[in-house]
Symmetry: C2
Subunit: 405 residues, 2 copies
């Protein structure tokens, strides 16, 4: 059976990858805010992008790039400015950013991807980026992932990084990632950015399919506050430096292994993002079984994880199965309420749509854990799915509602 | 042109209607909790019900009743117990409630409707209801609306009542209503209940269509926390006591007037419910124009009004147009972001998808008003729609997240 294991090194764990970061002055705090991730040879590139119609210029740019070109070499990321809703100035800023770094790295601008997170409505300060760019290139290092993982954060409290290794057809293959989650740059919104590097040789269409499949069960299944950012994106690049025989057959063991690594990596990062949601004190995992199909199960799981009433109860350590059942009922997925079963951790709260007597103090104590598991069985099929979220706290309101005077 | 005017009297304003309430001991506080609204002759009856799959027994009961029978005489309402997720015991409790009051009022059980709000998962305490029923009947009064409006409240802070009068074909016609909104009975959820009485003579199918149309632009357009209750319902009964020629033609002036009265009544009550949302300090009205059609406009308006990020900004008096634009962009309605315009009150914040400079302190001051207007123009058609919501506050988290130990 396919196996893989965790390693250190984040996005610079795979062969041929370097990363670096500088403080370009985009974040008012003066912290690191401009990041470069770079491969020493062209990498098969895939991406998934926010479904929001109001999108950052970089999101449009990357999506167009990927539609035309299957390979890329470098990603330039800035934190502190989302470059969203900035009109033509924003579009030009992205093009110019790609040009600046293409020149410095001696690449084609088409090989450069761009990502942004931060305040909305302000065009990128191009003079600052231009000035900091040469220095940023000098920071590139095969151990630079940690610095990059720090620099992409906004109000995130924790660094989000992970790397895995496997043996594919006799070759060690590595995959690494960094992400940022639900922090807010005054005065705007949470953004999910994730960057995945790999050294496997893999066929572009297969790589894209593997990323989409992994994203469906990971980043698409987390919720902090139900708001989809203008800037969300996940980019995955694999440069072939592992020199394994190129993975092309989706049914092969190698493809399945790559897919499992990608899925594990994305789920791990997604959970880190949910746990570090704005104001969150705990992670909740909502598992749904017995649905008509996997998509229905995922939808019910997402709806429960995003219910404000349930999230507030979670904060208050209130074993409120009524809110769980009610959220499931409004998910837009047909099921028979009289077959519904609900568990909190190991304790069953509801069976056949009817509440069970349960040890309430024990349930309250369970809810004080930093990770809480909620399970629902809809009793109507083989579909299963999982979603992750966090509690709704005073701090969420404080962070997002502070008087700006 | 059709006109109507406000009058006093709530659900007992129309001819032939009486209401009463007693404390049956269902609310632990000992407050009024059992309510009866009664017509002295059969009334054309229409209802709209929660779309949640997990529903209270009374909701199922009423919907089945209305599918079989176009007329009703009385509504029995209890507060303090939702009788939801109570299995067979809950179903029997509703049937028994109807029988008890049918006997006391000398009616057919099929003429009685039942509604509940309160804690989930506990069957109705039938002994208490049985015991209090005779006394409840003695409280019936043609000026009893105020008492009934008080008694249906749970953690609502304000009574929600309204009545209107018009002249239809030479006859004075009255319409009245009471509602309860987003209060929570420990440990459970917000419920919207609204009861509308009328003395017009109207054809049953037309009455049903008028209620659905009114509901679409009123109760369906308010959001407090995005959670749909198991118990939500709106019932509208019209007993013909005004002795107007029966309204049958949807295109007639009389039908249009009835429809406008019903719509006005429902919008007024819906706004009262949104303003009194759990923890809310202000009402927000989101108007959307320039959509492909009215449904799209309503959907964008609802999405903005329910965005947690926007609601927290509203609480913090932060003129965060980025969150408004971003919420519109994820509403699932196609529009061209580069045509988007946004106003806060009279101040335009965004034009052609690009932020405008604006007087920030003035905008912050505007946001301190108890009612805030947000307007979006999507620049893509004639569709318009409105939604109402409230801010997300520390108190919402406190009310719904209190430790239950």
């Amino acid at each position: 059976m396919a196996t893989f294991w965790a390693i250190e090194g984040g996005v610079t764990a795979p062969l041929g990858w370097q990363a670096g970061a500088v403080a370009a002055g985009i974040k008012p705090s003066g912290k690191l805010d401009l990041i470069l991730i770079c491969s020493d040879q062209p990498a098969v590139t895939a991406g998934v992008f926010t479904t929001n119609l109001v999108r950052a210029a970089s999101v449009d740019y990357d999506e167009q790039r990927l539609a035309q070109e299957s390979h890329g070499r470098a990603i330039v990321i800035n934190a502190g400015n989302a470059n969203a809703a900035t009109g033509q100035a924003g579009v030009e800023a992205v093009t110019q950013t790609a040009q600046i770094f293409a020149e410095l790295l001696n690449l084609d601008p088409a090989e450069i991807l761009v990502a942004s997170t931060g305040v909305i409505g302000v065009p990128l300060p191009m003079a600052k980026i231009q000035q900091a760019a040469p220095q940023l290139v000098t920071t590139l290092s095969p151990t630079g992932s940690e610095l990059a993982a720090q620099a992409i954060l906004t109000t995130d409290l924790t660094v989000k990084t992970r790397a895995l290794e496997a043996n594919i057809d006799g070759h060690p293959v590595r995959m690494g990632a960094i992400a940022k989650g639900s922090g807010m740059i005054h005065p705007n919104m949470a953004t999910l950015l994730a960057f995945i590097t790999c050294d496997a040789a893999v066929e572009p269409d297969l790589w894209r399919d593997l990323l989409r499949a992994a994203n469906t069960v990971s980043f698409n299944q987390i919720t902090v506050d139900g708001d989809t950012s203008t800037n969300d994106l996940v980019l995955a690049l694999s440069n072939g430096r592992a020199e394994n025989p190129t993975v092309t057959d989706p049914a092969s063991l190698a493809a399945r292994l790559l897919g499992e690594m990608l899925t594990t990596l994305c789920i791990d990062l997604a959970k880190m993002v949910a746990r570090d949601g704005e104001g969150a004190t705990k992670l909740v995992e909502v598992q749904v079984t017995g649905a008509r199909d996997a998509q229905s199960a995922r939808q019910v799981a997402r709806t429960v994880a995003s219910s404000s009433l349930f999230k507030a109860a979670l904060f208050g350590c209130d074993p409120n199965w009524g809110r769980i059942a009610a959220a499931a009922g409004r998910a837009g997925v047909p099921f028979a309420p009289q077959r519904l079963a609900v568990w909190l951790g190991e304790v069953q709260l509801m069976a056949e749509g009817t509440p069970l007597p349960f040890d309430r103090p024990a349930a309250v104590t369970y809810l004080k854990n930093p990770t809480v598991l909620v399970r629902l069985d809809l009793g109507g099929g083989q579909g299963q799915g999982t979603a992750w979220g966090c509690d709704l706290t005073y701090d969420y309101v404080r962070i997002n509602g502070e008087y700006t005077t």
